[in-house]
C-alpha cells in the first residue's frame, strides 16, 4: 500500500469509529464505549495524518500537541461537575479557533489558486469557525458569570447583527467571485468574530446549553467545509456527523427544557426573549426507560409510597419491581410515612395485600438517616410527605411536619400523574431539585413500563 492509501485506510477506520461513538453514546447501556470509540477514532485520525508524505516536520506538531494537552487536561479535570456546559463551551472555542486558523492559513497559502467553489467553501469554513470561536467564548463567559447571564438586548440589535452578517457574506461573495483582493480577508474574519459575539449576547444563561449544542453544529460544519477544501473525506464525515447531531441535539434539549427552539435560535433576531430568570421553573421530565436505566445501576433503593399508589392500585407493580431489583442484588427498603395515604395504615394494607413482607417496611425515624447513603429514592405517588418546604419554609402550611428526607438521596425518581398539588395544596420543592427525575403518568402504568425496560 502506498503511504496515501494507508492513510486513507486509517481514515476509513477512524470514520467508522466516530460513527460507532455516536451510536454507542445514544444508549445508556453502551454509552461508556462511545467515548472510547471516539477517542480511538481521533487517535487514528491524527496518526493517519502524521503518516502522510506532506507532513515532514514533526517538531512544531509535537510541541503544539503537548501545549494543547497541558491546557486541555486541567480544563477538564479541575472543573466542578456543575460547570460542564461552560467547560464544553470553552473547549468548543479552541476547536473552532483551530478551524478558523486553518482556513486563514489556507487562504494565504493557496488563495489565488482556488476556484470559486473552493474559495466559497473556504469562506464558509472561516465564517463558521470564527463566529463559533467568539460565540463559544461568550457562552463560556455568560455561564461562568463573568458577564451578566441575562439576555443583553439593545435597540436595533437586529439590524446591527444582520448587517454584520451581511458584511461577512458580502465580503465572502466578493472574494469568491473575484478571488481577491486579499485585503478583504481580514474584513471577513473580523465580521465573523463580531457576529459571533452579537449572536450570543441576547441569549439568556438558561438557554446556553442549547446554544452550545448549536455552536457544536457550526463547528462541525466548519470542519466539514475544511474537508471539502482539503479533499479529506474523514473531515467531511466527522464534520457532517457533528453538524447534524448538534442540530438535532439542540432541538431535543430545547424540548426537554420546555423552551421554543426558534425562540432560542432567533433570540438574536428580535422575537420575544425577555424571559426573567425565575419565570416558569422547569422540572426535568424523563421516560420510564430513563428511570429503568438509573435503577439498573443503583446499589440501594428506598421506595416511598403514597396515596398515588393507592389511587392507582399499583401495589402489586411496586412489589414486582422490588422483587426484580432484589433479585439483582439491590438493597430495597420501603419507607412508610405516618400520614401517607388517606387513612392510618393505608400503605400497610395495600403492601400487605401485595405480599410485601413486614421486614422490608421502615418507619420514618428509622429510615431518614439512611437516605444520604442511598443511590435512588423511588417516590410512587407520595407528595407532601417528601416536601422539603416543611423543613425550610416557615410560612408553608406544612412547616414543622416531619417528612421523609428523600431529597438527601443521590437520585430521586418521582412518579406522579401530573404536577397537581397534593393534599396540602402546595407546590413540592423536591420537583425542582437537580437530582430529581420526574416521570409523569399513572403509577401502575409507569411501574409496569419500568419493569419491562429493566427486563429487556
Amino acid at each position: 500500500m502506498t503511504p496515501d492509501r494507508l492513510t486513507e485506510a486509517v481514515y476509513l477506520v477512524s470514520a467508522v469509529l466516530f460513527i460507532l461513538a455516536l451510536k454507542f453514546m445514544s444508549e445508556v447501556r453502551t454509552a461508556r464505549w462511545g467515548n472510547w470509540a471516539g477517542a480511538l477514532g481521533m487517535l487514528l485520525a491524527v496518526a493517519g495524518t502524521l503518516m502522510r508524505p506532506e507532513v515532514t516536520d514533526y517538531r512544531w506538531v509535537a510541541l503544539a500537541v503537548v501545549v494543547g494537552s497541558l491546557v486541555g487536561a486541567p480544563m477538564a479535570l479541575l472543573m466542578p461537575m456543575t460547570a460542564v456546559p461552560q467547560r464544553t463551551a470553552l473547549s468548543h472555542a479552541f476547536g473552532a479557533l483551530a478551524a478558523g486558523l486553518v482556513g486563514t492559513a489556507e487562504f494565504y497559502l493557496r488563495g489565488p489558486e482556488l476556484n470559486p467553489f473552493f474559495m466559497g467553501v473556504l469562506c464558509l469554513e472561516v465564517l463558521l469557525g470564527y463566529l463559533t470561536f467568539t460565540g463559544s467564548l461568550l457562552a463560556f463567559a455568560k455561564l461562568q458569570e463573568l458577564i451578566p447571564t441575562r439576555p443583553i438586548v439593545y435597540p436595533g440589535r437586529n439590524y446591527i447583527s444582520l448587517s454584520v452578517l451581511g458584511l461577512g457574506v458580502l465580503t465572502a461573495l466578493v472574494l469568491v467571485v473575484n478571488r481577491g483582493p486579499a485585503e478583504l480577508f481580514p474584513v471577513l474574519v473580523g465580521a465573523a468574530l463580531l457576529f459571533g459575539i452579537l449572536l450570543i449576547l441576547p441569549i439568556g444563561g438558561a438557554d446556553m446549553p442549547t446554544v452550545i449544542a448549536i455552536l457544536n453544529s457550526y463547528a462541525g460544519l466548519s470542519s466539514a467545509f475544511m474537508g471539502f477544501l482539503l479533499d479529506n473525506k474523514l473531515l467531511i464525515v466527522a464534520g457532517a456527523l457533528d453538524g447534524s447531531s448538534g442540530l438535532i441535539l439542540s432541538i431535543l434539549m430545547c424540548r426537554a427544557m420546555n423552551r421554543s427552539f426558534t425562540n432560542v435560535l432567533f433570540g438574536a433576531f428580535g422575537r420575544v426573549v425577555v424571559e426573567k430568570a425565575e419565570e416558569g421553573r422547569t422540572v426535568q421530565a424523563y421516560t420510564p426507560e430513563d428511570a429503568a436505566a438509573v435503577l439498573s445501576t443503583a446499589r440501594s433503593v428506598i421506595i416511598v409510597t403514597g396515596y398515588g399508589m393507592a389511587a392507582s392500585q399499583a401495589q402489586h407493580a411496586v412489589k414486582e419491581l422490588a422483587d426484580l431489583l432484589m433479585a439483582r442484588g439491590v438493597d430495597v427498603k420501603f419507607a412508610i410515612h405516618p400520614v401517607a395515604g388517606r387513612m392510618p395504615g393505608h400503605m400497610n394494607v395495600l403492601l400487605a395485600e401485595a405480599g410485601v413482607p413486614y421486614d422490608l417496611l421502615y418507619e420514618m425515624d428509622e429510615i431518614n438517616p439512611l437516605f444520604p447513603e442511598t443511590d435512588v429514592a423511588l417516590v410512587v405517588g407520595a407528595n407532601d410527605i417528601t416536601n422539603p418546604a416543611a423543613r425550610t419554609k416557615p410560612d408553608s402550611p406544612i412547616y414543622g411536619m416531619p417528612i421523609l428526607e428523600v431529597d438527601k438521596a443521590r437520585t430521586v425518581i418521582f412518579i406522579k400523574r401530573s404536577l397537581a398539588p397534593g393534599f396540602a395544596g402546595i407546590d413540592n420543592e423536591l420537583f425542582y431539585l437537580p437530582q430529581t427525575m420526574m416521570v409523569f403518568g399513572d403509577a401502575k402504568k409507569v411501574l409496569t413500563q419500568i419493569i419491562a425496560a429493566l427486563k429487556g
Binding site: 471516539g38 514533526y58 431535543l252
Partner: protein, 98 residues
Amino acid sequence: MTEQGDILTNLFIFVLASFLGLELIRHVSRLLHTPLMSLTNAISAIAIVGSILLAGGHHDDLTVALGAVAVAASSANIVGGYLITERILRMFRGRPGR
C-alpha cells in the same frame, strides 16, 4: 486539485453522513444529552487533521505558525473534550464491574 467528480463524491458523503448523524441522535434519552454534547464537541476537533498538515508541512513560517497554534487549540479541544465526557459518564456508574 480535485476534479468535479470528486466534489460530487464528497457531496454524497456529506449528505449521507448528515442523515446518519440525524438518525443516530434522534431518539436519544434525556439522560445522555450532556455526555453527547461533550462527545460531539471532542469530535469536532477533527480540525486537527488540517492543522497538522499545515504545521508539519513544508510551508512558510506564517503558515506553520498558524498551523501550530491550530494544532495546540485542537489538542486542547481533544484532550479536554474526551476527559470531560469521561467524567460525565463516570457519574452514571452504579456498581463497579456492572
